[in-house]
């Protein structure tokens, strides 16, 4: 097909109507190209013994040696397991709570109170883990707020960040507190989109608040819930590095060490960029496969098609 064949009158009309929309995409494409596609060639580091002075082209190639080092490590299976357990529990707990919270917020009828609560809930999202880590260590220490409360009740203080039983729950709960408010935004948006007439009709038919929630709110945002859930699947190997890094210590490696913290100790502090690139590539490939799966799932259960 030659280029001129494109310029049929029909296409011309289409182009005249829509060119401005295409123009609007350009900045995004440029950004994507610069910040997502251009750096992708750096992936070659995963197959090199990388030296910044020699660059991508002159650094020696080592084949799959970097991957072998990661996969051969005796602790690797544990690290993968921890990552998945932590990531999945954070996802599940996070999403269920966000939905419930969004539904409750949606039921608040006093506007200023609703706004106030929303702001209050969003706020922790903007705290960095570096700051929050320090605060949590203080609060959770046996000398801190929680420890003092336990002592006052005559209990032996639990050392949350030093116990293999408590470390994962602590991660999940602190992350929940930080992110749950933020997570409600998309559901609140979906809830706002529901036609109020439905609620009115249901109210006239005698449905109480919970029945309205169950039969109108939830079914209306179900697509959104499934969509988010399936898109989250791509992050199964993506536990929160900053959070774990700030809070963990050697006694909880058994339950808290994740891929990123392990690679950090192994590679980055020794300037072994190849190792971290290999780990990153591994996570990306798995993530990519899972995203394909989740795309199919989203299509099947939520009827959501991106392409």
């Amino acid at each position: 097909m030659s280029v001129s064949a494109l310029f049929t009158p029909k296409f011309k009309a289409y182009f005249q109507r829509t060119w401005i929309l295409y123009m609007m995409i350009i900045p995004t494409l440029v950004l994507l190209a610069i910040f997502a596609y251009y750096p992708m060639y750096g992936t070659v580091i995963a197959f090199q013994k990388f030296n910044p002075g020699l660059g991508f082209f002159r650094s020696p190639w080592v084949g799959l040696a970097n991957f072998e080092r990661i996969f051969d490590s005796p602790t690797f299976p544990r690290v993968i397991g921890n990552t998945m357990i932590i990531a999945i529990s954070q996802m599940v707990v996070g999403q269920v709570s966000a939905v419930l919270l969004a539904l409750s917020l949606n039921e608040i009828r006093i506007v200023w109170f609703k706004r106030f609560m929303q702001n209050l809930l969003y706020m922790p999202h903007f705290l960095s883990w570096v700051v929050l880590g320090g605060i949590l260590m203080e609060i959770l220490s046996p000398f801190g707020l929680v420890g003092k409360a336990q002592t006052a009740m005559g209990l032996e203080p639990i050392i949350f960040l030093g116990s293999n039983d408590w470390f994962r729950p602590t991660l999940v709960i602190t992350n929940l507190w930080k992110e749950v408010g933020w997570g409600t935004i998309i559901y609140l948006a979906a809830l706002t989109g529901i036609d109020p007439e439905l609620y009115e009709a249901a109210a006239i038919d005698g449905a109480n608040r919970f029945q309205r929630m169950w039969h109108i709110s939830i079914p209306s945002i179900l697509t959104t819930i499934i969509l988010i859930a399936s898109l989250n699947l791509g992050n199964v190997l993506q536990a929160n590095f900053e959070q774990v890094f700030m809070l963990y210590n050697p006694t909880v490696y058994q339950t808290g060490d994740i891929i990123d913290t392990y690679v950090y100790r192994m590679g980055l502090i020794q300037a072994e960029f190849g190792i971290s690139a290999a780990a990153g590539l591994f996570k990306s490939v798995i993530g990519f496969l899972l995203i394909i799966v989740s795309y199919k799932l989203a299509d099947k259960y939520a009827g959501y098609k991106i392409f």
């Binding site: 910044p52 002075g53 080092r69 260590m137 220490s141 100790r265 502090i269 300037a271």
Partner: protein, 594 residues
């Protein structure tokens, strides 16, 4: 690794108190030595053999204020050696630098890293302008910035604190100037004598394949060496004797904790989750007493009976120590959650007076605890163990810093000659350089007061700068000794403002004394990590895994999560998991340097 940086930073923060890093020139005769390089310079450089110039005249001519407080009745005079022949350069040059900086590197209004009292003086005296090209605060940032500079092939002229791995990569990429021969040519006899005294260790970190790619600088000797700090007021209250042995430490700690002298959260001995050596609240003398060498975040390599090197963490004595530490933990010697706390988070425990025993360098005399809780700290020598009194020490040269330059750097000669002058100026014992009146300090009504800026943080190494490095590792000790012995003889009413300030604050004097004490014990008690080569191949591959396993196992044993037998399993897995191979490789290296 980052702990190492913190240690040095914090050391520096406090170094000012000891006055060590801050001292400069005065009363000694010094004309002759500085003149030596001039002849060499004349041969290689130019036909001009001008007479050495008076530094003070040059500064006055350039309108740059003189250091010190010569005009104040309570002040002192800061003499400077003559500037070597050929300086200031007729054609001023510019040298770019890379340096660490942080919130403590501050300037008077309008000044910055490139333009301050020190840079103006150097421009006037030597005709050298320094322009800072990159700075960093955290060690991650440091590596990133060096990587970026490497990737864009745009390295600063004088690079400080290049991480070991990055340095090796720079050599591999053939980016560095071979500085060794230039140093041989231009360094002053005094400098050469100091480096020669250090033997092979001085050049080891900068030598790759027999070529010296960097100029070494030392960290002050014994600056990591800890003393045992004890709350004297608590001892007295309970009628206890000062602890001497390991058992004494346990007993005193338990007594302190049980008497709850520091409130309900009182515990005995300061410790944190880095149980090897750490910059704050270390327990390295406990390992040392059993002959086990430590290092930052790992154990060290020490000589076995047959003369080969063995790793500290798998020695049979470790089991004894772990057993003992587990008992100590159960008895309440340590903070309940010490294993979840890093060294950086311990200061509040001292400041609020929760603990009564600690192994620390000078900062064990914690000002806040004195102010808040009336703590009366005394320092004692570290306790004796079955093998004697031993503690972590790093060789000043191996633990110091190296300064390297890119291949195309043309002014190494000028930089080295300027440093020759600075060694005379700043490292002659008894010389006075406390900075500039009105900038670093103020004297109001005869009373000396430290201001925030610290001039030595503005300088360009290898002498001085943030994360202080010195040329003579013993200089600080000599200087501190001088302060205590010579100045003490001056009648109180005749002391100048700085001298008076040194003696006015009991904590400062206590710190000075503890530092001198640690320095005196250094030679007899130092337990070095003897491995100072590059990571061996197997080390690169599995050592971080082995250290992980060590941290996890040992801490779990200490807190009773795992039985003491877990140590035997650890040793077996350590050996089969690459430890034996590493030991063989380390010994190969050890033989090669004998």
């Amino acid at each position: 690794m980052s702990t190492k940086k913190i240690s040095r930073r914090d050391f520096l923060r406090l170094a000012g108190l000891t006055g060590g890093a801050a001292a400069l020139a005065a009363c000694a005769p010094k004309l002759t030595e500085t003149a030596v390089p001039a002849t060499e310079a004349a041969v290689t450089e130019a036909p001009v053999v001008a007479a050495p110039k008076k530094a003070a005249d040059l500064l006055k001519a350039a309108g740059v204020p003189l250091p010190g407080s010569p005009d104040n009745p309570k002040g002192w005079k800061t003499d400077m050696p003559d500037v070597p022949a050929g300086y200031p350069l007729a054609q001023p040059i510019t040298i770019t630098t890379a340096r660490p900086t942080d919130s403590e590197v501050v300037f008077p209004d309008g000044d910055d890293l490139d333009n301050n009292a020190w840079t103006r003086s150097m421009a006037a005296l030597f005709g050298i302008n320094f322009v800072n090209k990159l700075t960093w605060v955290e060690s991650d940032e440091q590596m990133q910035k060096y990587n970026l500079a490497m990737a864009s092939n745009d390295l600063p002229d004088i690079m400080q604190g290049v991480p070991r791995e990055t340095f090796l990569q720079m050599v591999e990429a053939d980016m560095l100037l071979e500085l060794g021969p230039l140093w041989d040519q231009y360094a002053s006899p005094k400098w050469k004598a100091i480096v020669a005294e250090a033997g092979d260790n001085a050049w080891r970190p900068s030598t790759v394949n027999g070529k010296r790619y960097a100029i070494p600088a030392a960290s002050p000797a014994a600056h990591e060496n800890v003393v045992l700090w004890v709350r004297k007021d608590w001892l007295d209250k309970l009628g206890l004797k000062a602890p001497e042995t390991m058992q004494d430490i346990h007993d005193v700690a338990v007594a302190f904790a049980e008497a709850k002298l520091g409130g309900p959260d009182t515990y005995g001995l300061l410790a944190n989750n880095d149980f090897h050596y750490s910059w704050y609240g270390s327990i390295d003398p406990i390992w040392g007493g059993y002959g086990i060498a430590t290092n930052y975040g790992q154990f060290g390599w020490s000589k076995a009976e047959d003369g080969s090197l063995e790793y500290g963490g798998v020695k049979p004595e470790v089991k004894e120590v772990l057993y003992m530490l587990n008992q100590w933990y159960k008895d309440g010697v340590f903070r309940k959650d010490f294993y979840a706390i890093s060294a950086d988070e311990l200061t509040p425990d001292l400041a609020s007076g929760r603990c009564g025993l600690q192994f620390n360098p000078i900062w064990g005399a914690n000002r806040d605890s004195v102010k808040n809780t009336g703590a009366d700290w005394i320092f004692l020598n570290i306790p004796a163990g079955p093998k004697g009194r031993y503690q972590f020490s790093s060789d000043p040269w191996l633990g110091g810093a190296i300064y390297c330059c890119p291949k195309n750097f043309e002014h190494a000669k000028e930089w080295i000659e300027m440093t020759n002058w600075r060694i005379e100026f700043e490292e002659t014992v008894g010389n006075r350089m406390h900075g500039w009146d009105g900038i670093d300090y103020a004297i109001t009504d005869g009373v000396y007061e430290d201001l925030d800026p610290r001039w030595d943080f503005w300088t360009v190494g290898p002498r001085g700068t943030r994360w202080t490095t010195v040329i003579d590792p013993l200089y600080d000790d000599k200087q501190n000794n001088f302060y205590l012995t010579e100045w003490e003889k001056i009648p109180e009413d005749q002391r100048d403002a700085f001298q008076a300030a040194q003696f006015a604050d009991p904590v400062t004097v206590l710190r000075l004394k503890s530092k001198i004490f640690a320095g005196q014990n250094h030679a007899a008690q130092a337990l070095f990590d003897l491995f100072s080569g590059n990571p061996t191949p197997t080390m690169q591959e599995v050592f971080s895994d082995l250290v992980d396993m060590e941290n996890e196992t040992f801490l779990s044993i200490i807190i009773g999560e795992k039985p003491i037998e877990a140590f035997d399993e650890f040793v077996a897995s350590w050996k089969s998991g690459g430890g034996d191979q590493i030991t063989a490789e380390v010994n190969e290296w050890w033989k090669s340097i004998q």
